[in-house]
């Protein structure tokens, strides 16, 4: 498992990235930037890059973050580990990932219920159609909405 045609993010996708477009233009949040992190093969490195990501967000005094992934399978380990590391720093975290009917989490924890499914296919599978199961603007709005609620619940918003 890895990155299938229907979830892979093309160069064009990054160029038009709907998550960046939606979050960076919302006047109700102070947008800090995008942390781009890879998905190593090695387990030691998988844990390390997740920890480093959480350290950065903590140093940036981030209140909330949205994590997204361009694949599924062994990268789910990185995804959940990074979510947990960020959550452990007291930062509100929600996720966006292809789940459908074939990419559910093997192990669930307190963060998995804050991961939204970006599947668009009727079958809920990797359809091998380029662009079909990519994150879109609607997913981005849903995630930002959920993050705002979570930040309020977590006491990140004082007013």
């Amino acid at each position: 498992m890895g990155i299938g045609p229907s979830t892979k993010e093309t160069t064009m996708h990054h160029f038009h990235d709907p998550l960046v477009r939606v979050v960076s233009s919302d006047p109700d949040v102070d947008f800090q930037g995008v942390i781009l992190v890879g998905t190593p093969q090695d387990n030691y490195l998988k844990n390390l890059v997740g920890r480093r990501t959480a350290f950065w967000l903590e140093a940036m005094r981030t209140n909330g973050a949205i994590i997204s992934a361009d694949g599924w399978g062994n990268s789910d380990v990185d995804f959940m580990n990074t979510m947990t590391e960020i959550g452990n720093k007291g930062i509100s975290i929600v996720g966006l990932k292809f789940i459908g009917k074939q990419a559910g989490f093997v192990v669930e924890n307190e963060h998995t219920k804050f991961v939204l499914d970006i599947n668009k296919s009727k079958s809920g599978t990797e359809t091998e159609v380029v662009g079909e199961n990519n994150l879109n603007e609607k997913d981005a709005h849903k995630a930002l909405g959920l993050l705002k609620l979570k930040m309020r619940k977590d006491g990140q918003v004082t007013k």
């Binding site: 890895g2 990155i3 299938g4 045609p5 892979k8 993010e9 093309t10 160069t11 064009m12 996708h13 990054h14 160029f15 038009h16 990235d17 709907p18 998550l19 960046v20 477009r21 006047p27 109700d28 949040v29 102070d30 947008f31 800090q32 930037g33 995008v34 942390i35 781009l36 992190v37 890879g38 998905t39 190593p40 093969q41 890059v49 990501t53 940036m60 981030t62 209140n63 909330g64 973050a65 949205i66 994590i67 997204s68 992934a69 361009d70 694949g71 399978g73 990268s75 960020i86 990797e126 091998e128 159609v129 380029v130 662009g131 990519n134 603007e137 930002l144 993050l147 990140q156 918003v157």
Partner: protein, 246 residues
Amino acid sequence: MNKNTLTINAFSMQDVTIGPKYHLTNNSLEIPDHPLFSIDDRLKSVTVKLVDPKNCHFKINTIMDVIPISTKVLGNIGYGMSNTLTGVSVILTGADETGVQLHEFGSSNGYLDEKIKFDTDGTPSSDDVVILIDVILKSDFEFNRETCEMVFNTADQFLQPIRESLKILNGREAAESFDYEDIKHPGKPKVAIVKEVAGQGAMYDNMVFAKEPGGIEKGISIIDMDNMPILLSANEYRDGAIHALV
């Protein structure tokens, strides 16, 4: 130059044609049907054709990437000015001469109209003219990062003469112009995006910080950075700081 602002001038291509050479105006583009440079020894052929997304029921090799055509005019990626073409986009496909497809996990070879969903953020608009670059490797190739990067690089080199002409078009004659500012909202909750991207090997990689938007030259593979997190601004992102190698 205000390092907080990115201006993107969009030139809308009304007429895209195949011809003997590259020629770009404010609203038209002519490109050759093959690279005008000598291609890598590992390659059997590189062919270029124009495709109408509304009429594309024909067989293609696996889709390696969809690429926008954009170039820096002033400043670096993320600030200053970029010129971008609209109405035209690039699909890169690849296989070897025996039909082995270039992909990591699942291939999108088949009928083009059945293997891509047009009009998404990551795919061409159905009103675009698509430049389809098909790269065929000789059969004894090694499937590794180096070979795949060479294929992506071949497509990038084919596009570079378009970017060189695009750089000298006058921004005042662009069809549209957009200013993107990094606006702070003090007192509001601080929010960041974490994007987890592929970084494990051939066709499972991403490149950042190339010289040109969505380009390859001088780009750094996220694998070569041991997948360590890096921080990008929204403007760097929308100015093509990332080239997917998936």
